[in-house]
């Protein structure tokens, strides 16, 4: 029998597809353990529950799994992604939540990204980070969630576009971008540094915002903290590896702790999505854990991204416009001062403020359009607020006043165009 060239090619392709499918299925089952039914005694330990509550807060679960004004952890919040909407499920101990789950089921969700019923989970749930949790922490978190009063609230199905709604597509994504992993202690570093690394990379999943995502929505991994534009929200999570952005290599540890604890520090305050992180998560962490995070973050090497700086060097292009200066005097100077000096403890200085010069200027645009309060925390219970200017200034005017800031008081950052402002104005 003689086979034609095309038949051979077809057979080879078929064999490759089969091998790839086997590989995808195999990789998706990687490191899964057999699951045992729950041992009832395990979940009734008050100390375990308290530790679990602490870890659930450190893991920032509240922000996605609680609707505004809704019962805590009862789910329902719609997470918008470039691929469609992912609805965060109910985590309370109701039949519509985790009532039927065992700690093995919970571990498999966190470590392997697979739900109790065998479905693959979408990585909007940050299991690429949680996979490195230690089992004892996952068990404590589960014990806490099981201790919550049951709230009956049916989960809404996700609303993802084709092909992202297909489990095969998700399986391929996982084969490409996800492996179950363990947190590796770096013995050359102190226990405090390692604790900080665990909190930042694993539980706190900081890179979910503070890194770039590729076209498939994947990050380069939990160690990539080099900054990125948050999809849909379009706030820029600045680089934690660049002291001109959000790097803290040159900050005293106590200022990092103050920022994460109260939302404000002598070096700056949090706004936007990071304000939510402080309000929902880091303000509840212990002094030791915040110090550990500061140690770890402070140890990250200062590696500015040359591509982001490239346009900021020539002075000639950045002459502040008259219109911008006038807008500043009219709308901004009363609080931020004629020379951008601000008012200590109330209104941030704009001179010498690194947030003013960051490219992309997304956060500046959001601040001017929406205004904002720093979060109310026990350490800072009565924050000062900035009014929104969305109804007062046109896109062109916002661009003019921001371009003025970015070329004043020693700043040498590229101007902000009308087009950029209108793009960010459209974001949620």
């Amino acid at each position: 029998m003689k086979l034609g060239k095309s038949s051979i090619a077809l057979a080879v392709v078929a064999a490759l597809v089969l091998l790839a499918a086997i590989a995808v299925v195999g990789l998706n089952r990687d490191d899964e353990l057999p699951r045992a039914p729950e041992i009832a005694a395990r979940a009734s330990n008050a100390e375990l529950v308290a530790r679990g509550e602490y870890l659930v807060r450190a893991g920032s679960c509240y922000g996605c799994h609680t609707e505004p004004g809704g019962a805590a952890y009862a789910g329902g919040r719609a997470i918008e992604t470039p691929f469609g909407i992912v609805n965060a499920p109910n985590l309370t101990a109701d039949a519509t939540g985790l009532a039927a789950w065992s700690s093995d089921d919970f571990w498999r969700a966190l470590h392997n990204g697979r739900s109790r019923d065998g479905r693959l989970l979408y990585p909007a749930f940050p299991y690429p980070n949680y996979t490195r949790l230690v089992r004892a922490d996952a068990d404590a978190m589960f014990a806490y969630l099981k201790s919550l009063a049951p709230v009956a609230k049916q989960n809404r199905p996700h609303a993802l576009r084709f092909p992202f709604d297909q489990s095969a597509a998700l399986a391929v994504w996982r084969a490409l971008f996800f492996r179950p992993a363990q947190f590796e202690t770096d013995n050359a570093r102190s226990p405090q540094w390692n604790r900080g690394a665990y909190l930042v990379e694993t539980l706190g999943h900081c890179n979910a915002c503070h890194s770039r995502r590729n076209v498939f929505g994947a990050t380069a991994g939990p160690l990539d903290l080099a900054g990125g534009l948050i999809p849909i929200q379009n706030w820029y999570a600045p680089s934690l590896r660049d002291n001109a952005e959000a790097g803290v290599g040159d900050w005293p540890e106590r200022e990092v702790v103050a920022l994460l604890r109260s939302g404000v520090s002598a070096r700056g305050s949090v706004q936007g999505p990071m304000a939510e992180v402080v309000a929902r998560s880091t303000q509840f962490l212990s002094e030791d854990d915040l110090a550990a995070m500061a140690t770890y973050l402070g140890s990250l090497p200062d590696r500015p991204d040359a591509t982001r700086r490239a346009t900021g060097d020539s002075d000639a292009a950045f002459v502040p416009s008259e219109a911008g200066a006038k807008l500043y005097t009219t709308h901004c100077a009363a609080c931020h001062g004629d020379r951008g000096e601000g008012v200590a403890g109330a209104y941030p200085a704009l001179a010498g403020n690194r947030a003013v010069a960051i490219t992309p200027p997304a956060n500046l645009v959001h601040m001017v359009l929406r205004g904002g309060f720093a979060p109310a925390t026990p350490g800072h219970p009565r924050p000062y607020g900035m009014p929104p200017f969305a109804t007062v200034l046109s896109d062109e005017q916002v661009g003019q006043v921001l371009s003025y800031l970015r070329a004043s008081w020693g700043h040498r950052a590229p101007p902000v165009s009308t087009l950029e402002v209108s793009r960010y104005r459209g974001a949620r």
């Binding site: 004004g69 805590a72 309000a279 929902r280 009219t330 109330a346 929406r370 309060f373 607020g385 007062v392």
Partner: protein
Amino acid sequence: MQRKQIVRLALALAGVVASGAALAAPPFEDTIAQRVIACTGCHGKEGRAAPDGYYPRIAGKPAGYLFNQLRNFRDERRHYELMNGLLALLDDAYLQEIADHFSSLDLPYPAPLAPVGSAAQRDAGEALVRRGDPARGVPACNDCHGAQMTGLAPFIPGLLGLPRDYLNAQLGAWRSGQRRALPPDCMAQVAQRLSPEDIGAVSAWLAAQPVPAHAAAPPAPSTPLPIACGGVAAAAGTASAPTR
């Protein structure tokens, strides 16, 4: 009509801008008024927004009402993106302080704008406000908001001195379920029994009424309201879900 509203809104905003410019750089003081400059940008100097725009005045309104509205915006029972965003991360204690601050201001109300709509429309509005429509189960506005419609402290707001556009928008939002209060949501029930024409009539009449001098809301009598209201029941300590 739409264009007219936009022009009116633009003029109102221009007014805000102009007054902001005239008031450049008051000395900084560590006061609650200083902390809530974020509010007065839209709601006018000291929260006294005039009836010629969209934004309601907040100065002098009952503290419990203001507190409930701040919580409703924070918890997204009311929807206005700028308000939702500003309040998202503020806790009950601070919202109460903000409410108390604006409530404590006793500022003069400006005269109402010239009446709009036909006399017949305003008459229909007045009838609904003063007598309701028992056949449809619509209580009179007076029954809850006070004989003078200046509200009842601490939870029921006055209805005078508000822009017509704002009144229309709120009644419409209640009718469609866009604006909500803590359950039972009495105003949603009332608004759902009104037609769009009823709403237009009520708003046109209310917006044309002058506010009596010393319009502070008197304390609510102990008699029950004609309809149960979650926002008023909150007096008994029915708290909403915790912030965190």
